[in-house]
């Protein structure tokens, strides 16, 4: 796509409102070279729509606050350059959809924090001496990169059906559990949680979550599939489960 020039006019079609009174509103802005969608949204907020609700913090794809759907695609607004999208048409910006809407571009993501509370936290052995090596943690560090943007939660078709929220933790929390389970010093067993409460077997490996992850975490291949294997081992081959647990290996 060609490079955006300063002063070029672009139209943004943003979902405004709350409750039942929702409408798309068009805003025309003069873009600057190198702008991302968030720059445009904040510019609109500062000059045309001071009450436009939007979340952001780092503006550098590090905090996971600015998730939205840009032209129907779940993205971080601060990482979506105007150069990379079609700006000859209005750019449509909507909030993420899997969670209750609050106002404008803000959705209510509290449910995710509730799920996290139910996960058994890091549990080292009492006398653990914490000597471990880079090769032991390369895998865990991948999971710990998660910035909690909840884009994976947003695209997962299981969570799009809101009733499933009580039975399915969603990809973000499989990543979280994988980070704990594969921590070389952790001793807890979260297989029952995975199976019964988190509903790991409801996932049918569509990989939609992996495709949207801005941190390039291989959610399905590296977290969900190995976790399913652990749950199965725990049930049918406890010895193998123990080996995996103790070695911290997949």
């Amino acid at each position: 796509m060609s490079r955006m020039q300063t002063g070029q006019k672009v139209t943004f079609r943003i979902l405004r409102g709350e409750g039942d009174s929702l409408k798309e509103v068009d805003y025309h802005v003069e873009a600057e070279t190198g702008w991302v969608v968030l720059d445009a949204v904040l510019n609109i907020q500062a000059t045309q729509a001071p009450d436009l609700s939007v979340r952001w913090n780092c503006k550098a794809a590090k905090c996971g606050s600015c998730s939205a759907e840009v032209n129907g695609k779940p993205r971080l607004m601060c990482k979506t350059r105007l150069d990379d999208i079609d700006t000859s048409q209005p750019v449509v910006v909507h909030p993420i959809k899997s969670f209750p809407h609050v106002k404008d571009l803000v959705a209510d993501v509290k449910w995710n924090y509730e799920v996290n509370k139910r996960i058994t936290p890091f549990t080292p052995a009492k006398d653990a001496d914490f000597t471990y090596y880079q090769e032991d943690v390369d895998r865990v560090q991948e999971f710990r990169k998660c910035i909690e943007c909840f884009l994976c939660q947003n695209v997962c078709h299981i969570l799009r059906n809101h009733e499933a929220h009580s039975r399915f933790a969603g990809p973000r929390f499989f990543v979280r559990v994988a980070g704990l389970e594969m921590h070389p010093m952790d001793t807890a067993d979260r297989t029952q949680f995975l199976d019964q409460e988190a509903g790991v077997f409801l996932c049918n490996i569509t990989k939609c979550c992996t495709h949207v992850c801005p941190e390039d975490i291989h959610i399905t291949d590296n977290a969900i599939i190995p976790l399913k294997e652990r749950v199965i081992d725990r049930k049918y081959d406890p010895l193998q489960w123990l080996v995996r647990k103790v070695t911290g290996k997949k």
């Binding site: 070279t33 190198g34 550098a60 996971g64 609050v102 509370k117 880079q134 704990l180």
Partner: protein
């Protein structure tokens, strides 16, 4: 107070960055019923953005390191302005705080011996920064967040505190609103810990987010606390300068720690002329001023910066050690840092000054109030060393949490409230909805940013500072009339109106403190007083701001004198 939602706690902690989380964990571990309040969602505080690492003399890589050397580096880095006792506690306790974080599940990069790896950083004698690639802050905040949540701390997210509540000279709670609904909420508490972070949003070019509107500084000052060292504003030497949308975003010092070179448009490694010994790993104040000078004298890059180049290192190594920098430049500037240099320049980054506290307990000068993290003062003096903030958060977060819990225990009963104060504050906060003026808080925010950048920025003169100070009263008037549109539901324009009240107050404090200090030292540079008063009067005093009858008072207090044995440590090797 039936009309407000009201919560009662032993301790409330305002701010959920590293400092606030660590404070809340400690307070609750001591048995105090503890709440944590923050403006953003949990886990999104500034701490999440910290990249390079956390300084702690673990001596895992350079065996010669110890707390004494860390202490000396911090004293020298702070240009003798810091509080020696805080600097001592910090150097002594940060290794234990880092190990504790590891025991709570943080996964630091490892040495070949299986220990926490450490990297070099500006002003640190040895390789000292425990790190996780270039996302150390994320690791810290996630670890603390999970520890805290599972320990039973109640978290109130997206709730902005607008004023501290006082009764009989003591802080007894806090008053705020829910960002989502705009409804007000009262927190009654026996002790309050302030951990709100910094003030960067009053500058045009900054690495700081929308949250850094000086709230904690302003609330504490209005509640009767003192602010020290507010003239010391850190401009980080390496922020992005292009494209325009990313101007100011931080380029971690770890790039230089990993061997990145600074060059001007003529390809010269110009640090040779400013600090030939330490070169790129000189302290931030020196490097920032060097870059400023290079650009000013015509040796800058096309977009008014200089080059930072790490492309001589192996591409895989760069991607492994600096993954988020690699992506940041690739995604936002179309630059591949494994083959091309980065264009960088100074960006406002950190406020050394802050709430004056008792080193051991974090107690502020007003009873019932405690402070830790970036909003507190004293630890970093005239210039902060990279990596010393993350360790500061843990060391003094723990101490403030403990201090607050003990205060709450010893000062048992909840005391009363001044209902009139709450009513008054509510009216003030809602006033913008009634305005018919043409200007919005955004307009004024841009004006303030220009004013601060141009007059209270990296290079200062008495005249410029006076210009800024003269403008504030009219500015305040204008702000009282600023117009807000829409409802109280998640309304950022309305939120900014009160944030601006806080920013304006603290902008004035910064400008007055800067005008008062007639020398150049650390991050404070006066073109009209270019010399550092080494060993002289200005080395013996800290600026100290107060607030009475609606006015800022600015004065000087004697700097606590370092005991002889510590001074010997500093002098012996200086």
């Amino acid at each position: 107070m039936a009309e407000y939602q009201t919560h009662e706690y032993d301790v409330i902690v305002i701010g959920a960055g590293g400092a606030g989380l660590r404070a809340a964990i400690e307070s609750s571990a001591m048995g105090a019923k503890t709440a944590l309040v923050c403006k953003s969602l949990l886990g999104k505080a500034h701490t999440v953005m910290a990249e390079g690492g956390m300084a702690a003399a673990l001596a895992n890589v350079d065996k010669a390191d110890n707390w004494q050397t860390h202490f000396r580096d911090t004293v020298l880095g702070g240009k003798y302005m810091g509080n020696w006792r805080m600097q001592q506690l910090h150097a002594q306790e940060s290794p234990e705080r880092a190990l504790e974080l590891e025991r709570w599940g943080a996964v630091f990069d490892r040495t070949p011996e299986g220990k926490i790896n450490q990297r070099a950083f500006g002003g640190h004698t040895w390789k000292r920064l425990a790190h996780v690639g270039d996302r150390t802050g994320l690791e810290m905040i996630r670890t603390l967040q999970d520890k805290g949540v599972h320990q039973g701390i109640d978290v109130f997210m997206e709730c902005t505190i607008v004023e501290l509540l006082k009764d009989s000279g003591r802080v007894v709670g806090a008053f705020g609103y829910w960002r989502e609904t705009g409804k007000f909420v009262v927190f009654k508490a026996k002790a309050v810990v302030m951990a709100t972070g910094g003030i960067g949003k009053m500058f045009r070019v900054t690495s700081n987010s929308w949250e850094y509107t000086a709230d904690g500084h302003a609330l504490a000052l209005r509640a009767g606390a003192e602010l020290i060292d507010m003239e010391f504003v850190q401009f980080h030497p390496t922020g992005m300068v292009w494209p325009p949308g990313v101007k100011g975003i931080l380029v971690t010092e770890a790039v230089r720690g990993e061997g990145g070179l600074l060059k001007n448009s003529q390809g010269e490694r110009f640090m040779e002329r400013y600090d030939p010994k330490r070169m790129e790993l000189s302290t931030r104040d020196q490097v920032a001023k060097a870059i400023y000078t290079e650009v000013k004298e015509g040796r800058g890059t096309p977009h008014g910066g200089v080059w930072l180049d790490i492309s001589h290192k192996d591409a895989e190594y760069i991607k492994k050690k600096l993954p988020s920098m690699y992506h940041q430049f690739k995604d936002l500037a179309d630059v591949d840092i494994t083959t091309s240099p980065m264009e960088i320049g100074p960006t406002m980054h950190y406020i050394m000054g802050g709430i004056r506290v008792v080193p051991e307990s974090g107690a502020a000068t007003v009873p019932g109030l405690f402070a830790c993290g970036e909003c507190s003062g004293g630890m970093h003096g005239g210039n902060r060393l990279g990596g010393n903030s993350l360790s500061d958060l843990l060391v003094f977060g723990k101490r403030a949490g403990e201090g607050a819990a003990l205060f709450a225990r010893d000062n048992g009963a909840h005391v009363g409230f001044d209902d009139a104060q709450i009513k008054r504050t509510e009216q003030d906060v809602l006033r913008p909805f009634e305005s018919r003026a043409s200007h919005t808080p955004y307009d004024l925010h841009f004006e303030l940013q220009d004013l601060m950048q141009d007059n209270v920025g990296i290079m200062r003169t008495g005249d410029d500072l006076k210009t800024a100070i003269a403008v504030f009263p009219a500015f305040n008037e204008k702000l009282r009339g600023a117009r807000v549109e829409g409802s109280r539901m998640f309304n950022p324009g309305w939120h900014l109106a009160w944030d601006m009240v806080n920013m304006l107050l603290i902008a004035e404090v910064v400008a007055r403190a800067a005008l008062q200090r007639e020398e150049s030292r650390g991050a404070h540079t006066r073109l009209d007083f270019p010399k550092t008063d080494s060993g002289g009067y200005w080395e013996t005093v800290n600026s100290c701001a107060t607030y009475e009858d609606g006015r800022v008072g600015m004065g000087l207090i004697p700097k606590p004198v370092m005991p002889a044995e510590l001074k010997a440590l500093v002098d012996a090797t200086a």
